[in-house]
Amino acid sequence: MITTYLFYLLSFLAIMFGSMVVLSKNPVHSVLYLVLTFFTIAGHYVLLNAQFLAAVHVIVYAGAIMVLFLFVIMLLNLNKETEPHKSIWLKASAAVASGSLLVVLVGSLKGASTIQSTNAFNPNIGLIENLGTTLFRDFLLPFEVSSILLLAAMVGAVMLGKKSIK
């Protein structure tokens, strides 16, 4: 029973903080609301028995990516409401377009209640032992390729960040 209430609470908070990310005027407030959204999503992971993933999520997103965002905002001195306003028509069309997308996506979920799980429920799949076995047995090549991707991203970020490229 408490799981149900926690799910409702975390869902409500996730949607509310997600909306605040988009709607708040100050970019620093947006970053902080995004951190809160990530914490609620980590709570969802814990409820879904993905404990290791929740820990990694908090470390990577709230710890690394959001610090990078805050750092760039402070560096560019964007921590004030400098954003020029879009015209009311562009705002209205953005709202209508995303609302239509929501309606289409929710409509496409109509048959989802008939999905049946073919496997017996196993509460241990989120533990690090199972995840490591899957990662290094079935996904060894993607794992190595993602290391090359990270190296390329690092080189690209350093190249772009240099003052003058010769």
């Binding site: 905002i73 069309s93 799949i125 970020a157």
Partner: protein, 106 residues
Amino acid sequence: MNSAIQVIPLEWYLLLSTVLFTIGVLGVLFRRNAIIIFMSIELMLNAVNLLLVAFSSFLSDSKGQVFVFFIMAVAAAEVAVGLAILMMVYRNTKSSDINTLNKLKW
């Protein structure tokens, strides 16, 4: 305590992920600040992550959670390169408004 997927129907997770994804799309369309657009993209990636974890838990298959790791790696790479590009844009135009970047616009 039970796992949430045993007491919550899968549709609720589908709905929650859909709503979060739509909020991300709204952010991309609604705002002009490039940093907020990046944050909206992160929100969309996280909606997909949540859906993958819900399905992984529902089907008792750990492959979905391994995919989330790969998405996190891609998101980290994307943020590093994207913010470097943003710094570069800011250095050249002195603003983070995406409407100043209209050289490729038809």
